[in-house]
Amino acid sequence: MLKNFSKSKLIKIFKDELIIKGCFNEKSKIYDYKNWDSLANFNILLSIEKEFKIKFNSKEFSALNSFSDILKNVKKKD
């Protein structure tokens, strides 16, 4: 588990990137929100990499596109 990781930080990244003002639905995936297109998905992943100082490999980069998958993946990284 990453030292500086917290679920609330991850949710904040999603809300900032997707410009969501209210509650964020943790079951959401790509295209569920108006701003969540493929480019926004990449922006979210890049922002997560920067915030938690981790790297997604190419396979992860193309496959991760839902909050739950991303949460699971980030939690696994050490």
């Binding site: 480019l39 990449f42 990499e49």
Partner: protein, 523 residues
């Protein structure tokens, strides 16, 4: 100024980097890989004056180099009045042979573009093998070859270009000597012991002087304001074989007066404004004292030497994206002005001075060789500028081609030498009169009857017509123009007297009296 940013790669337009950084109403970030479509789009070309092209060169170095170059050259050549800023990025592969070939081709592209010799092209090539700024994963999954950090640096680079392009460079740098041009104080340490050398701890001062010399070549004027014995200072420059020499400084003031007194004197001698000047000193006390008396002056503290060198290199107002031939002559031209000032102190009678000067004015049409200087004059001149209308190159060409409109540039020479292009005027022919919509002169040549002579020439050329000058008051022009209007014969008229509603500001009718006619004898 409007900027259009375009690229051959995906710049992740929606990424926060661009929003946080600077994108505003006047700056548009293009969609992915539309560079060649956008730069050929008439609508886009007519809307924006400045184009920033971010080009990932690796895409063109494998096979399409020549084709790419010919398209870019064609775009530049067919839009000569636009400003183009090309930021080329080359990601090296760490394969020796491949990188050698890539570097060669990248340099060839830059050189070919620069060889076009248009003043309005800026080219920068960034070459790196580091994966810190590039990301192969992003390149193939996003068509963005940059890492997030690389993209952040790139957006900063774009920001810097825009800020250097929009901020006005300083005209004059006034320097202290001790701990600013060399380490230590000559009064205490002695000339032989101060720090200045090609190596070791004096090396930083050699680099500082080298950079100042480079700034001087770009047209920045440099001067001194130092509390020292003058002879010791010049002996230091000479004995220690420094990069800067006595002749590099304009109106140096080395004495024991307060520095603000010296600086004020230099500003008056050069007709420069406080905010055109950067003052550099190692003492916070001296800087505070100067700032208190000359509040609009910019200052830089040289206490931490390495930071001071960095600031000197990076300062947005010490950057010139374009260096005109006129800029390179600035030091020489201001020296001519000083010779004139010296002549004035020798001869008391003003008429004698004007005769002695043997001034010659040339009236020039705007053409390709001088349009950059014309644009610079219209955008930089504040104090003796009747309307401070700002025109870019496109607008100047349009004015030139307008019927019943005359636009001319003025160049001056005198017994001391060539002053270059020093002013301009625009007038419009109406049925019964002439309306001078713009009239501006560089401050360094004022008060030698040139301003009166130009008005006289316009009136002489349009003999049977009344000539009216338009004046729009601003904080910067109100003093000089007021003096000029008061010293000469002008009659303020109501706008209703003629159909001139389309002209902004106040109107002054030229009265052709003996005083004005007499001016001719001095030229």
């Amino acid at each position: 100024m409007r900027y259009f940013i375009t690229s051959n790669t995906n710049l992740l337009n929606s990424n926060k980097i661009w929003k946080d950084n600077f994108l505003c109403k006047t700056t548009k970030l293009d969609d992915y890989n539309k560079i060649f479509i956008s730069l050929n789009d008439k609508q886009i070309l007519s809307k924006y004056e400045n184009f920033i092209g971010i080009i990932y060169l690796n895409d063109y170095l494998k096979s399409n180099t020549r084709k790419f170059l010919s398209i870019i050259k064609k775009i530049i050549c067919s839009n000569q009045n636009k400003n183009f800023f090309f930021l080329f990025y080359l990601h090296l592969s760490n394969n020796y042979q491949l990188d050698k070939k890539y570097k060669f081709q990248a340099n060839m592209i830059c050189n070919e573009i620069l060889r076009l010799k248009y003043q309005n092209i800026f080219v920068n090539l960034r070459v790196s093998a580091s994966n810190k700024y590039f990301s192969t994963r992003n390149k193939y999954y996003l068509r963005c070859p940059f890492s997030l950090e690389g993209l952040f640096n790139l957006s900063n680079e774009v920001k810097k270009i825009i800020s250097s392009h929009t901020t006005k460079p300083f005209k004059l740098i006034i320097l202290d000597c001790d701990n600013t041009l060399w380490g230590g104080t000559i009064g205490e340490d002695g000339i032989a012991s101060i720090k200045y050398s090609e190596d070791g701890d004096g090396k930083v001062f050699e680099d500082i002087q080298r950079h100042l010399k480079y700034l001087k070549k770009q047209g920045f004027l440099i001067s001194l304001s130092s509390k020292n014995n003058e002879k010791d200072v010049w002996r230091t420059f000479q004995n220690r074989k420094m990069k800067l020499t006595k002749k590099d400084f304009l109106l140096p003031k080395i004495n024991w007066f307060e520095k603000y007194i010296n600086i004020k004197k230099t500003l008056a001698e050069l007709s420069l404004k406080e905010d055109d000047v950067l003052f550099i000193d190692d003492s916070k006390l001296e800087i505070d004292k100067v700032k208190k008396k000359i509040p609009k002056i910019s200052t830089l503290i040289s206490e931490d030497i390495s930071k001071y060198l960095e600031k000197l290199q990076e300062h947005p107002r010490l950057q010139k994206l374009k260096i005109l031939e006129e800029d390179k002559k600035k030091h020489y031209q201001y020296n001519l002005r000083n010779k004139y000032e010296n002549l004035k102190t020798k001869l008391n009678n003003l008429d004698d001075i004007y005769y002695e000067l043997r001034q010659k004015i040339k009236i020039l049409d705007i053409n390709r060789s001088n349009i950059n200087r014309a644009e610079q004059l219209f955008n930089k001149t504040n104090q003796f500028n009747f309307t401070t209308n700002r025109y870019n190159k496109n607008q100047l060409i349009n004015i030139k081609n307008k019927p019943f409109t005359t636009i001319k540039l003025l160049s001056l020479s005198d017994k001391f030498g060539e002053h270059g292009i020093i002013g301009s005027f625009i007038y419009i022919q109406q049925k019964n009169c002439i309306i001078v919509s713009d009239f501006l002169l560089s401050c360094r040549i004022l008060s030698r009857k040139i301003e009166e002579y130009i008005i006289y020439l316009i009136q002489k050329k349009n003999k049977n017509k009344e000539v009216y000058l338009t004046h729009v008051k601003t904080d910067k022009n109100k003093e000089l123009i007021k003096i000029f209007l008061e010293n000469n014969s002008f009659q303020k008229v109501s706008k209703k007297t003629i159909d001139k509603d389309k002209f902004k500001g106040e109107l002054y009718k030229v009265l052709l009296n003996k005083k004005l006619i007499n001016v001719e004898k001095f030229f």
